[in-house]
C-alpha cells in the first residue's frame, strides 16, 4: 500500500518521471541491511502516536513531532469512486471539488437569499433535461437558467474557504479522490490548530455545494486534460474496463464524460449524506501539537457531528477470469504497453509478497525489469510496476507499464517481460536480492517518518483500510517474513495467462 492508490496522480508521475533521465526518484533512500538498527527509531516514533475516537465514531490519530512549529492535517473519508452507482461515475470526485465551495457562512454574501436560487437552478436543470429528451426547444429554458445562474453567482464569494486558509498561512491545500478514498489536506503554522478545527468541522457539518454547474464544466476540462487528450490516459481507462468488468475499480475515478454531464446536485448530496458520516471519517494530525489539546478541541468541534449508521461497504461480485483479455488502441502517439494481473485486496495474507514482487521487478537501478529490458536489451525506455491498481481495498491488479524504445516492437517488450516473469516462477529469488528489497521497504518507511504530510496521510489510511494505524509498522514484519518460496508460490499463482489483461497502444 502506498501513494500509488492515488489514481489521478501517481502513475502518471511515475511514468513521466522515468523519462527524465536526470531525475531518479527511488522510494527508499537510506537504511542498512540490519533491521535492528532501525527498529529503535521506529519504536520511538510509534510512541509519539496516539489515537482517540469521539462518541459519534469519528477517529483521530495524532503524532507529535516537534521538529518545526508546523502541523499537517488529513481528513480521510472512507469513500472513493468504487462506491458510486454504475451510471453515476465521477460523483465522489465531483463532491471533492464541491467541498471547496464553502458553507452557509463561508463563501456567500447572504445564504438565505442564495439558497432559493440554488434550488431553482436544480429545478431548471431537471426541466432542461426532460425538455431535451422530448426533443423540444430548450432556448428559453437555457436563457432562464443563465439568468438564474448569474443571480446566484452574485451572492458567491469565490473560493473564500481557500482564501481563509491561505491568508492564515496554510500551505498545500488540496484534495484527491481515488477508487478507495477521498482525502482533504493542508498544513498550518502550529498556532493555527484551532483554526483548522473550526474550518474543517464547519466544512463537512454545513457544506453548501454552490457553483455546481460551473464546477461541472471545470471537471470536464480536468477530464479532457487527464484522459481525453492523453494517449496513456485513454489506454488506462479502456484497459481497466476490460481487466475489471463488473468491478467498481473498472470505472474511471474522474467519471465517464456522459455521467459527469448527467450528474445532478442531488446525486452528490446523496453520496455525501450516505458516506460522509463520522464513522467513515478518520483524521490524521501530525506535527507540533499537544495530543490532549487536540482531543479537547476535536471533541468540541467534531463532536458536533451526529452519529450515523455506517453505510455498508461495497461488495465486489466479479466472476473469476478464465481466459486472457486484451485491449488495443490506435492513437497518434508513440506506443505503450501494459499488463495487468488480478490479485486480491490488501488484507490478503500475501499482500507483502505482492509488494516484494513489484520491488524485485521494478524497484530501482538493480531491479530485474529495468536491468534486463531497459539497460541490457534496450527494448524499453522505461518500465514500471505497481503492486496494486487502481485501488487496494478490494481485489485489483498488479500492473506493468512499459514504453517501448524506438524501433522496438510491443511484441519484443512483451516477450522480454514474460521471460522475466517466468524466471520468477521457476527459480527462487536469491537471498541477497530478497534482503535488499526488505531493506528498501524499511528505508522507505524511515524516510516517511520525517515528513508531517507523509505521516498525516499514511496513518488514517492504514487505520481505515486495515483497522489499525499500527499496521503501517506491522507491515514491516510481514515483509521481513517473506521467503523466496513465498515469492515463487505467489508468482506462479499470479502470472498466469488466464489471469492476465494486456493493453497495447499503437501509433496510428
Amino acid at each position: 500500500m502506498s501513494f500509488f492508490s492515488l489514481f489521478s496522480v501517481s502513475w502518471r508521475r511515475a511514468l513521466t518521471g522515468l523519462l527524465l533521465l536526470l531525475v531518479w526518484s527511488f522510494s527508499g533512500a537510506a537504511t542498512s541491511a540490519q533491521p535492528n538498527n532501525i527498529q529503535p527509531y521506529i519504536d520511538r516514533v510509534a510512541e509519539q502516536i496516539s489515537e482517540f475516537t469521539l462518541s459519534n465514531g469519528m477517529k483521530f490519530i495524532v503524532m507529535e513531532r516537534h521538529q518545526s512549529p508546523t502541523v499537517s492535517f488529513m481528513t480521510y473519508v472512507d469513500v472513493g469512486s468504487a462506491y458510486e452507482q454504475p451510471n453515476k461515475t465521477g460523483a465522489a470526485h465531483f463532491l471533492e471539488h464541491l467541498a471547496f465551495k464553502g458553507t452557509t457562512l463561508i463563501g456567500t454574501r447572504d445564504y438565505s437569499a442564495e439558497r432559493p436560487l440554488l434550488d431553482e437552478l436544480d429545478q431548471l436543470a431537471g426541466q432542461l433535461k426532460t425538455t431535451q429528451a422530448a426533443g423540444k426547444s430548450t432556448d428559453s429554458l437555457q436563457q432562464q437558467f443563465a439568468q438564474t445562474q448569474a443571480k446566484a453567482a452574485a451572492y458567491v464569494k469565490q473560493n473564500e474557504f481557500g482564501q481563509i486558509v491561505q491568508q492564515a498561512g496554510g500551505v498545500g491545500l488540496n484534495a484527491t479522490t481515488s477508487a478507495d478514498a477521498t482525502r482533504y489536506f493542508y498544513s498550518f503554522p502550529a498556532n493555527k490548530l484551532e483554526l483548522w478545527m473550526s474550518l474543517e468541522s464547519e466544512r463537512f457539518l454545513d457544506p453548501v455545494f454552490r457553483e455546481f454547474y460551473e464546477e461541472q464544466a471545470v471537471i470536464l476540462e480536468e477530464r479532457r486534460m487527464r484522459t481525453d487528450n492523453s494517449p496513456i490516459g485513454k489506454l488506462v481507462e479502456a484497459f481497466l474496463q476490460v481487466a475489471l468488468p463488473d468491478h467498481p475499480y473498472g470505472r474511471p475515478v474522474i467519471g465517464f464524460e456522459a455521467d459527469i454531464r448527467n450528474l445532478e446536485s442531488r446525486d452528490v448530496r446523496d453520496l455525501f449524506d450516505r458516506y460522509y458520516g463520522p464513522s467513515r471519517i478518520t483524521i490524521g494530525i501530525v506535527g507540533d501539537v499537544d495530543p490532549k489539546q487536540v482531543q479537547a478541541m476535536s471533541e468540541a468541534y467534531f463532536g458536533r457531528f451526529k452519529a450515523q449508521t455506517r453505510a455498508p461497504d461495497v461488495s465486489v461480485n466479479m466472476l473469476p477470469q478464465t481466459a486472457p483479455r486484451s485491449v488495443n488502441l490506435t492513437l497518434p502517439s508513440q506506443p505503450w504497453y501494459m499488463e495487468g494481473y488480478q490479485r486480491p485486496g490488501l488484507t490478503d495474507p500475501d499482500d507483502a509478497v505482492y509488494q516484494m514482487i513489484s520491488s524485485i521487478l521494478s524497484g530501482g537501478r538493480t531491479a530485474r525489469l529495468y536491468r534486463s529490458l531497459v539497460e541490457q536489451q534496450q527494448l524499453a525506455l522505461s518500465i514500471q510496476v505497481s503492486p496494486t491498481f487502481p485501488g487496494d481495498r478490494y481485489s485489483n491488479l498488479l500492473v506493468l507499464f512499459a514504453q517501448p524504445a524506438p524501433d522496438r516492437s510491443i511484441e519484443q517488450v512483451a516477450a522480454a517481460i514474460e521471460a522475466e516473469l517466468t524466471q520468477l516462477k521457476t527459480t527462487p529469488v536469491p537471498a541477497a536480492e530478497l534482503d535488499q528489497v526488505k531493506t528498501q521497504a524499511r528505508a522507505s518507511l524511515l524516510q516517511t517518518l520525517a515528513s508531517n504530510q507523509g505521516m498525516a496521510s499514511l496513518l488514517p489510511e492504514y487505520e481505515a483500510k486495515t483497522g489499525s494505524w499500527r499496521n503501517l509498522f506491522e507491515e514491516l514484519k510481514a515483509i521481513d517474513a517473506v521467503t523466496a518460496a513465498d515469492v515463487q508460490r505467489v508468482a506462479q499463482q499470479l502470472f498466469q495467462p488466464q489471469n492476465q489483461t494486456v493493453g497495447k497502444l499503437t501509433a496510428g
Binding site: 536526470l22 508546523t70 486534460m225 499537544d290 528505508a443 524511515l446 520525517a450
Partner: protein, 499 residues
C-alpha cells in the same frame, strides 16, 4: 485532485517570514485536563502567538583546495544526505552539441568509477538503500547522496570517487544517448510538453541556451572526448559547494571530507561565479503574435501567453510576488474568474517567474476546450489588463501579503531547507539575508506599488500567444482575436534520425 499544483520553484523558497506577536494570543496550558472549549466560527477565533523562526546552526569552511563546505547537524533520524553544487550548466555547452551537459551529468553517476564499476556500485548502494545521483541542468550541476549514518563512510567514499574519477564508459554514454533518442521520439505525445518547449523557443529563440532542445543531430555530434572535456572543464574542488545535513558529528564529518577530498588538486581559474561572467545575451525574439501547433486529434487547447521576464534580484520582486498572489492561487483573480465563475478551465495561472541570473518569463497559461479558446484568452487578458489599470483592493493586498508572510515558517521547517538556501545564495552570488530583505520589502508593499510594478513589468503589446490545439475546432478562430491578427503555424514534426 482539486487543484493542479503549479508553484514556481522560486516561490517555494522565496516566501518570507513574519514573526508577529498577536497581543491577543492565548497561551494554552499544555496538558491542562479541563479545557472548556466552545466551537467558534473562524472569524471569532484568537490565536497563540505565531511561532518564531529558528535557524539551525550551520558551519561553513573551505578546504585548502578551495572546496567550500556547509554542514548542518540533524539528529532526528539515523540518516545523512549531501549535495555538491558544481558551477556549470547546460547553457555552457556548445549549441551543436546540445545534450552534452545532460549526458555528462547522467553518466558521471550511471557509469561508475574504475574502482566501483556501475553494476557493483548500484548493487552496493541498493543493498543499503543508499543513493547517489547526479545531473546538470540549465544553470548548475549537482551530485547528491543519501545514506544511513552507519553506512556513511563507505557511501561517502564512493560519492567522492564519482565526483573525482568518473569512468564515463563508452557504452554508458551510448546508452544515455539512446534514451534521449527515445525522449525525442515521444516529445510530441503531450500537448503540455509541446507548449512548454515551443513557447520558450518563441521567447528566447530556438537556438538560445534557454530554449534549444536536444535533437538527433546534436546527439550524433557528442563523443566521449567531448564528455571528458566538459567534465574536466568544470569538476574541480574550487568550483564546487558541498553541503551535508543529517546525523553526524561536525568535527568527524570535517575529517572525513578532508580525507576524501583534501588531496584533490584545485583547477586553474576561472572558477566559481567568474566562470559564468559571459552568460548568453537574452532578448525576446518574437515581439508579439499568435502561434499555433495544429494537433487535429485534440479536443482541448493548451495555451501559453507571455513575454520575457526578469531576475529575482529586481527591486520590485516583492511587489511582483504580491501581484502573483493576487492573480493566482485559491481565490486569486484568475482562478475565481476563469475557472470558478466561467468554468473555462481546470488549470489557469499567470506568474511573474524570475530566475536567479538570467531573465525568466512572465507566463499566463492553462487549458480549455477547443471552442472556448477565444473566451479563455480574452478572460485571461482582461485580468492582466485589470491589474495594470486599477489598484488592487486593500483586502486583496492583505490576502496576498498575509498568505506569504504567515506561511514563511514553512520555508524554515527543516535544517535541509536552510542548508540549501544558504548554498543557493552563495552559488548565485546573492546576499545571505536576501530572504529577509524580501520580507521587509513585502511588508512595506502597497497597492500602488503593485499597480506600478504591473504597469512597468507586464507588457500587453509584447505578449506572445501560443496555442497547441485542434485548429479546425477552434471557433471562432484565433485570427478573430483582433483585427488583422495573423496566426503563424509552427511545425513540430520531429526530424528523422540519421541512419
Amino acid at each position: 485532485m482539486w487543484l493542479n499544483g503549479y508553484l514556481p520553484k522560486w516561490l517555494r523558497y522565496g516566501v518570507l517570514a513574519l514573526v508577529i506577536t498577536l497581543g491577543l494570543g492565548l497561551s494554552w496550558a499544555s496538558g491542562s485536563p479541563a479545557m472548556a472549549i466552545t466551537p467558534q466560527h473562524y472569524s471569532d477565533l484568537k490565536f497563540p502567538p505565531a511561532p518564531e523562526i529558528k535557524l539551525p546552526p550551520y558551519s561553513r569552511f573551505e578546504l585548502n583546495n578551495g572546496l567550500k563546505v556547509y554542514l548542518v547537524e540533524d539528529h532526528e533520524l539515523p540518516l545523512v544526505s549531501g549535495i555538491a553544487t558544481i558551477y556549470t550548466g547546460d547553457r555552457l555547452e556548445p549549441a551543436e552539441k546540445t545534450g552534452l551537459a545532460s549526458i555528462v551529468g547522467d553518466t558521471l553517476r550511471s557509469g561508475g568509477t574504475v574502482n566501483y564499476p556501475a553494476e557493483a556500485l548500484n548493487q552496493f548502494l541498493e543493498q543499503r538503500a543508499a543513493a547517489i545521483e547526479s545531473g546538470i541542468d540549465t544553470t548548475a550541476g549537482s551530485a547528491s547522496f543519501s545514506s544511513l549514518s552507519e553506512d556513511l563512510n563507505e557511501v561517502f567514499s564512493r560519492f567522492a570517487e564519482l565526483l573525482r574519477q568518473p569512468a564515463f564508459p563508452p557504452e554508458r554514454i551510448e546508452f544515455t544517448k539512446n534514451q534521449w533518442r527515445g525522449v525525442i521520439a515521444r516529445r510530441n505525445d503531450s500537448p503540455d510538453a509541446i507548449a512548454g518547449r515551443e513557447f520558450q523557443k518563441l521567447i528566447y529563440g530556438a537556438t538560445s541556451p534557454y530554449a534549444r532542445t536536444i535533437e538527433y543531430s546534436t546527439l550524433d555530434q557528442i563523443s566521449r572526448p567531448d564528455v571528458l572535456n566538459f567534465y574536466q572543464q568544470y569538476y574541480h574542488p574550487n568550483n564546487i559547494l558541498l553541503g551535508i545535513v543529517g546525523d553526524f558529528d561536525s568535527a568527524q564529518m570535517r575529517a572525513l571530507i578532508e580525507a576524501q577530498f583534501g588531496d584533490w588538486q584545485a583547477g586553474s581559474p576561472p572558477v566559481g561565479r567568474s566562470l559564468l561572467q559571459d552568460l548568453p545575451e537574452v532578448q525576446q525574439v518574437q515581439q508579439s503574435g499568435i502561434f499555433i501547433v495544429d494537433q487535429p486529434q485534440l479536443s482541448q487547447s493548451t495555451l501559453q501567453i507571455g513575454h520575457l521576464g526578469g531576475e529575482l534580484n529586481s527591486p520590485d520582486y516583492a511587489a511582483l510576488s504580491v501581484m502573483n498572489g493576487v492573480l493566482n492561487g485559491l481565490g486569486g483573480r484568475l482562478v475565481n474568474e476563469v475557472r470558478s465563475r466561467q468554468g473555462l478551465a481546470y488549470s489557469v495561472y499567470a506568474y511573474w517567474s524570475p530566475q536567479f541570473d538570467y531573465p525568466g518569463l512572465f507566463l499566463a497559461a492553462g487549458q480549455t476546450r477547443s471552442e472556448a479558446t477565444i473566451p479563455f484568452i480574452k478572460a485571461t487578458l482582461a485580468e492582466l489588463e485589470k491589474i495594470r489599470s486599477a489598484p488592487i483592493t486593500e483586502s486583496e493586498l492583505a490576502l496576498a501579503k498575509d498568505s506569504i508572510l504567515n506561511a514563511f515558517i514553512f520555508s524554515f521547517a527543516t535544517p535541509a531547507q536552510t542548508l540549501s538556501r544558504v548554498m543557493r545564495y552563495d552559488y548565485y552570488g546573492y546576499p545571505q539575508d536576501f530572504i529577509f530583505q524580501y520580507q521587509k520589502q513585502l511588508k512595506a508593499t502597497t497597492a500602488a506599488d503593485v499597480q506600478r510594478a504591473a504597469q512597468t513589468y507586464l507588457k500587453p503589446e509584447q505578449l506572445v500567444t501560443l496555442v497547441v490545439g485542434n485548429a479546425a475546432a477552434i471557433q471562432p478562430p484565433l485570427g478573430s482575436l483582433s483585427p488583422g491578427s495573423k496566426v503563424t503555424p509552427i511545425d513540430v514534426t520531429i526530424p528523422s534520425p540519421q541512419g
